[in-house]
């Protein structure tokens, strides 16, 4: 196993750890908006680290660019989802910001 492989293994392991942390936040946090926060941020760091790890494994530029595109689109999607759901939760709970 070469140095690049070790780097990829470390990045993928860190990504999996962030995914599990996000799930823990979803299960344990008390407020819907806190859960939203935990999930959308931690999962995206996890996805980014996994993309980085697999990009190290990928020898081609096209594959690495596709991985980067996956990460950017994932961030875009979860930013949009977090904003829409958080705004709706705020409206539904009477508009007060806790």
């Amino acid at each position: 196993m070469s140095g690049l492989d070790l780097l990829a293994v470390a990045l993928v392991c860190a990504g999996c750890a962030f995914f599990l942390t996000g799930t823990l936040g979803l299960l344990r946090f008390p407020d819907p908006r806190a859960r939203l926060h935990a999930l959308t941020k931690a999962d995206n760091v996890g996805l980014g680290l996994i993309c980085a790890g697999l990009g190290v494994l990928d020898a081609s530029v096209a594959g690495a660019l596709k991985l980067a595109l996956v990460w950017v689109l994932g961030m875009l999607a979860s930013t949009l989802s977090a904003f829409l759901i958080a705004r709706q939760e705020t409206v539904r709970s009477g508009g007060q910001r806790r």
Partner: protein
């Protein structure tokens, strides 16, 4: 390396199963939507990990289209709740 990627994918599959459990257990619509977001992003990560077990990584295209459509679920959820009457648990 192939075995490691499979192990990481299985770990994330466990993560997605926890998401499915919380999807069925949660009484609040917003929490169920969050569980769906969790399952979606975990699925993308699993597809990426499985894509790199073999060359060429064809599942990468599947993951790309999956993540492209990821926001549509929450947009539909918010739209549908805006049209619904505003009293529910």
């Amino acid at each position: 390396m192939s075995g490691f990627l499979l192990a990481a994918a299985l770990l994330l599959l466990l993560n997605a199963v926890v998401g499915v459990v919380s999807l069925y257990a949660s009484p609040y619509p917003a929490d169920r939507m969050l569980a769906i977001l969790l399952i979606g992003s975990t699925t993308v990560a699993i597809l990426l990990l499985l894509a790199y077990r073999h060359e060429p990584p064809v599942l990468l295209e599947v993951a790309l289209s999956f993540v492209l459509l990821a926001a549509i679920g929450s947009i539909a959820f918010v739209q549908q709740r805006l049209r619904a009457p505003p009293h529910e648990p």
